[in-house]
């Protein structure tokens, strides 16, 4: 059964909530702005709504259904305890401007999570308010810019590797910087010598992802950081892949000045079909004073205090506010729950198992698929392959769609850009060996078809709720909202 749109099944004058009918003649104080036209919304009764959304949900794939090997996205299991905790009334039913005396437990959670992040990263400062990873990147770059401006240093360029997430250059541009590429070596890492040669008084910062998007640890990271610092710049580490090293390596020991942490990647808050994320940023001593408002301080008497704009005496040289209120509290409670569950020993096991699983996938497929950096050392949390050897014009996209027919969500495709037809596979630590073996078998079968030039793959998927969708049509003639069909 196909599921119609809610606007096709909803009722213009029915509702799924029971509220009193407004008194028709009640005086109002709307100042004459009373709405006098239809909004055009449709209503569903509860049975209709539950069924509509339940049916829609079944057209989705999620971690709960199977392995979800999207590289760089870290689709790990989302523990259900996290969901339960986030719904405790003291967290869920608390207003952001509640008097601070009535929100001590919430402020404590923010503080406690910040302390965990600082300890896990070995960094002295933290900003909790960024709403997502890209917002965290912006937070880090703005802190760098504020620190540079505070010393009167008007540097204009940020360096990013070609393999960077698109958010890195976009963020730098959003913060008013020019962006230049850093070249990579043949083995998939930043070219230290080339980078060093580019350093100079115009370089505000370098943004490096570590482990990088080829799934490799940047061996020279500390040397790079030292060189950047030497040249008066700052080191931004994209922490999207922190899950590969959490509990085993502290970025602070590598010379990082700022790093965002995706709570929805490393710390298991749900992805929810594209958000919400949460992107706290840890800072070095040099940047910590410039962290954004608001932030939580613990007072000497043990109480917690939210430093907002008002607190001129406390705020210091903060670069200002990035968002209303104080950050993604609903994600903080989930992430802290996850951290407490794993503890220091568990988080170490998390990164070890994530890396082990990825290497297992790498070594189970490298005989069949081109693995450009297979000789560059062990991979970290994700394994990278290219499309070399595919016959008959079959592409990475075809392989991905073929995997759908095997019952899997595909890996990340065509990223990073440095590898032709890239396929980035991140199994995460929450997959069992049995699940990996089953996935590898399926993957091999589809890869063999791609190498054999099986034309059938070009039309895959066959067994999904939809066949391939016409993205060109969608972009050429955008239909972005439902409209009433024309009457005959």
């Amino acid at each position: 059964l196909e599921e119609p749109l809610l606007f096709e099944i909803g009722h213009a004058d029915e509702t799924g909530v029971d509220l009193p009918e407004p008194a028709a003649d009640a005086a109002n104080r709307l100042g004459g702005f009373d709405r006098d036209t239809s909004i055009g919304l449709k209503g569903l009764h509860e049975p209709e709504a539950v069924r509509h959304y339940t049916r829609l949900s079944r057209q989705n794939y999620g971690i709960d259904l199977g392995l979800f090997p999207l590289g760089s996205c870290t689709m790990k299991h989302n523990p259900r305890l996290n969901e339960k905790v986030a719904r405790m009334p003291g967290f869920a039913d608390l207003h952001p401007m509640a008097p601070q005396s009535t929100a001590q437990g919430a402020l404590q959670v923010i503080h406690e999570l910040g302390e965990w992040l600082k300890t896990l990263t070995g960094m002295p400062g933290v900003a909790m308010s960024p709403k997502a990873g890209a917002h965290g990147e912006l937070c880090g770059i703005l802190a760098i810019r504020a620190a540079l401006e505070a010393r009167g240093d008007a540097r204009k360029v940020v360096l990013c590797p070609e393999s960077a997430h698109g958010t890195n250059p976009a963020t730098a541009a959003f913060a008013g910087y020019e962006v230049e590429d850093i070249p990579a070596t043949d083995e998939g890492r930043v070219d230290f010598e080339a980078l060093k040669a580019r350093l100079g008084p115009d370089i505000a910062a370098v943004m490096i992802t570590n482990p990088n998007t080829c799934g490799l640890f940047e061996r020279d990271f500390k040397k790079i950081a030292d060189a950047v610092h030497e040249a008066g710049g700052f080191v931004y580490c994209d922490g999207a892949n922190f899950n590969a090293i959490v509990g085993r390596v502290r970025p602070g020991d590598l010379g990082v000045d700022a790093m965002h942490i995706n709570l929805h990647k490393t710390f298991s808050t749900p992805h929810g079909g594209g958000g919400p994320g949460s992107g706290p940023v840890v800072f070095s001593d040099a940047l910590a004073p410039f962290a954004p408002l608001p932030f939580v301080k613990q007072e000497d008497d043990g109480t917690y205090y939210l430093v907002e704009e008002e607190s001129r005496e406390h705020r210091g040289p903060s670069f200002g506010r990035m968002t209303a209120f104080h950050g993604q509290m609903g994600m903080f409670t989930r992430a802290l729950t996850y951290m407490l569950s794993h503890g220091a020993d568990g988080l170490k096991q998390v990164s070890e198992d994530a890396v082990l699983n990825a290497n297992y996938v790498l070594r189970s497929l490298e005989d069949l698929l081109h693995a450009p950096y297979a000789d560059s050392g062990p991979c970290m949390h994700e394994a990278l392959f290219g499309d070399a050897g595919f016959e008959n014009g079959l592409s990475t996209l075809d392989l991905a769609k073929g995997l759908i027919d095997e019952g899997y969500h595909p890996m990340t495709v065509y990223f990073p850009l440095v590898v032709h037809g890239a396929m980035l596979v991140e199994p995460t630590e929450t997959e069992s060996k049995a699940a990996l073996d089953q996935f590898i078998t399926a993957f091999r079968s589809v890869a063999e078809r791609a190498k054999a030039g099986d034309e059938g793959l070009k039309q895959a998927p066959y067994y999904a709720p939809r066949r391939r969708l016409d993205e060109t049509l969608a972009a050429r003639k955008p239909v972005l909202a439902w409209t009433e069909p024309d009457r005959d």
Partner: protein, 453 residues
């Protein structure tokens, strides 16, 4: 460890397949001095679900939940009753544990929902197109200012003094690094918003005028008048709405001439959550502006068999394609909150939203009448929806704290929102919703009478 399915036997077998003798061998590229031998010092070891739940419950109990007190806080975040079915649906694993729908063949659930969401938001705001959500209202507001700059090729935004101060702060913080001028102001403590003052500040350099509707004091500004003035100067009007429920009772910003409408969608489906995650709404009145919009867009198309389907589209605006030339650096949206909004809005429908709005307004009128009887209290507003300002004749911050100590959550003081502005220190913003009972209103009235006497 309950979330880690590998057994020690598995680990051994896998290392053998890999050809490594130990896990350490896999971390060989980490410089020795950065590798830690054991678990990170200073953190506890793993704990049972029972222990963790107890820990977090203790934290939760140290907060006064809104349900446990007469509650009148608003100022950009509103407490509404959310039907139980909303939470049921957002906990469906297929929604909760899905990723951004990059593989549309197996993500039609999320995609169709986003298409429906876009339609709901566009209609609510009287616009032609809405995007598939942003972080929250404050960041959506800044994205709108940026967009106006792209559209108008001008770099000055004129902000109403009655825009939520957090939103103003965000714009000022972001703007200062890229040389975008933010002309802000302070709110006028008057029964009506200062439209003429705002209009006087619009000039030929102005890319946009930003007006909150209803505003931070709960007043309803005449957007049509401002739109006309802005358009006359070649500027866009950005309307900011922090209480979507209001639009069940008052005209939409789009029909009054706003060019971009942004909002905080938290009121519908999402809940208070101490400030986040929330839901940024973003719509444009004229679809010709769509290619300058930030954020994700979901569009209708067909599949290879001709069946209707949905995909993320126009992604050439986005960072993963355009990198430093993108319209925004945003990567995630607020998908699960958008789902909650859309489910709740579907349950309400046109009729329910209007009833909800009427009930909110009715209770706000009752509350205003009750507070007007309290000696020392003056109700400021001529008009309002579910929120209004009062002056107390003394420091409202302290009154709020005193009432909190007695278990009454009285409202948001302007002193907290505008710490620098002494002239605002005796004002308090009071919000009511359908969750406000008549007993709550009386409790607030009585508590204020006691505090001010």
């Amino acid at each position: 460890m309950r979330y880690l399915p590998l057994t020690d036997t598995d680990r051994g077998d896998m290392l053998a397949k890999i050809g490594a003798s130990s896990i350490d061998d896999l971390f060989v590229d980490v410089p020795q001095e950065a590798r830690l031998d054991g678990p990170i010092h200073g953190l506890p070891m793993h704990a049972s679900e029972m222990a963790v739940e107890a820990h977090m419950r203790r934290r939760s109990k140290k907060n006064l939940a809104a349900a446990d007190a007469p509650f009148f806080l608003g100022a950009g975040a509103y407490r509404h009753h959310v039907p139980a079915s909303v939470d049921h649906i957002i906990q469906r694993g297929e929604f909760l544990t899905a990723y951004t729908p990059y593989q549309p063949e197996i993500a039609q659930g999320t995609l169709q929902m986003l298409f429906e969401f876009q339609t709901q938001v566009a209609r609510l705001y009287g616009c032609e197109v809405a995007n598939a959500s942003m972080y929250d209202g404050s960041t959506a507001c800044w994205e709108a200012i940026l967009m106006a700059g792209r559209v108008k090729k001008r770099n000055k935004a004129v902000l109403s003094g009655a825009l939520h101060p957090h939103y103003t702060e965000v714009a000022k913080t972001m703007a200062k690094f890229i040389g975008y001028e933010i002309a802000d102001a302070q709110p006028s403590i008057q029964p009506q918003p200062d439209n003429s003052g705002l209009i006087a500040r619009i000039d030929d350099e102005t890319s946009c005028v930003v007006v909150q509707y209803p505003d931070i004091l709960g007043r309803i500004p005449d957007l049509a008048e401002i739109a006309e003035a802005a358009h006359a100067k070649g500027a866009l009007l950005i309307a900011v709405n922090t209480e979507p429920v209001a639009l069940g009772a008052i005209k939409s910003p789009g029909e009054l001439g706003a060019d971009i409408v942004v909002g905080e969608g938290q009121s519908i489906g999402v809940g208070l959550q101490f400030g986040g995650p929330y839901l940024g709404l973003f719509a444009v009145r004229d679809k010709k502006l769509v290619r300058q919009m930030p954020g994700r867009l979901c569009g209708e198309t067909v599949d290879a068999e001709g069946k209707r389907g949905f995909v993320l589209t126009l992604s050439t605006r986005e960072q993963h394609i355009r990198r430093e030339k993108a319209t925004s650096n945003i990567c995630t949206n607020s998908g699960l909150c958008a789902l909650a909004f859309s489910v709740h809005m579907s349950l309400l429908g046109e009729k329910g939203l209007r009833q909800l709005a009427a009930e909110n307004h009715r209770l706000a009128c009752l509350t205003a009448d009750r507070l007007a009887q309290v000696p020392g209290v003056t109700v400021l507003n001529d008009n309002f929806f579910n929120e209004f300002a009062v002056t107390l004749g003394q420091d409202a911050r302290q009154v709020v704290r005193d009432l909190a100590a007695k278990g009454v959550l009285a409202g948001v003081s302007l002193g907290r929102l505008y710490p620098d502005v002494d002239s605002l220190s005796d004002a308090l913003v009071v919000a009511t919703t359908e969750t406000t009972s008549e007993e709550d209103i009386e409790a607030l009235g009585a508590a204020l009478e006691e505090a001010l006497s």
